[in-house]
Amino acid sequence: MLTDLPLFAALKHKMRWHEARQTVLAQNVSNADTPGYEARDLSAPDFGSMLGAARARVTSAAYVQPARTNAMHMTGRLSAGGMTQEAIDTFETTPKGNTVVLEEEMMRLADNQMQHQMAVGLYQKGLGLLRMALGRGR
């Protein structure tokens, strides 16, 4: 019920995206010495359209529903979850074909963690707003 509100739906999806990205980054670091392994990252999701779809009363913000302009058009789901892995451009490839740069992975890790914390903080503030509206104060 809480995730019917667009703010919480979008934040929940953002948090899930960061969790999934943490797994991809862990994979990269863990395979930093495996020959032939290419570093991967999650493609950035388009949160603006997610919010728009949520406002149009889609049950799950994970799907982007195409708009039907004509009753004869078919409905459908464009993408499942919007989380696709892609190989990233890197500037350093070892002779064995491994493209993981540990420093870059650490930077991405720190960025991922900060963004996740920001989403968590916003979620908490949103809950606080609801509580205040209900009259329960802090």
Binding site: M15, R16, H18, E19, A20, Q22, T23, L25, A26, Q27, V29, S30, N31, A32, D33, T34, P35, Y37, L102, E105, M106, L109, A110, N112, Q113, H116, Q117, V120, Y123, Q124, L127, G128
Partner: protein
Amino acid sequence: MDFLNSIMVAAKGLRAQSGRMRVIAENIANADSTASTPGGDPYRRKVPTFRAVLDRATGAHNVELGPVARDPSAFSVRYEPGHPAADEAGYVKRPNVNSLIETVDMREAQRSYQANLNIISSTRQMLARTLDILRS
């Protein structure tokens, strides 16, 4: 749950890196291990190999220590006529272990290990902050 998957992937990485350290330690310890019979072969340097293994349950690529290979480079010889492993000309074959290379490999293994540890601690922090939502 994705956070637990991240921790498991990093834990497999830790295990692989500590396996690598073990191989490096073997090499360093056996840097002077010659044969005991005349003309025999000394210790041959071991090389750890890694491979990425897809874990079907989580869909993540875990790292695994593959079969430990042997370095095929040639042995160096040293003139030591009194040695039990000396051949007719008095030369003893020495292991093909270069201590400098092993030291640098050790530093790299240490760095990879530290990076995997960072992943685990960062994931745990993210998980803790998420659970904090319940508290406020």
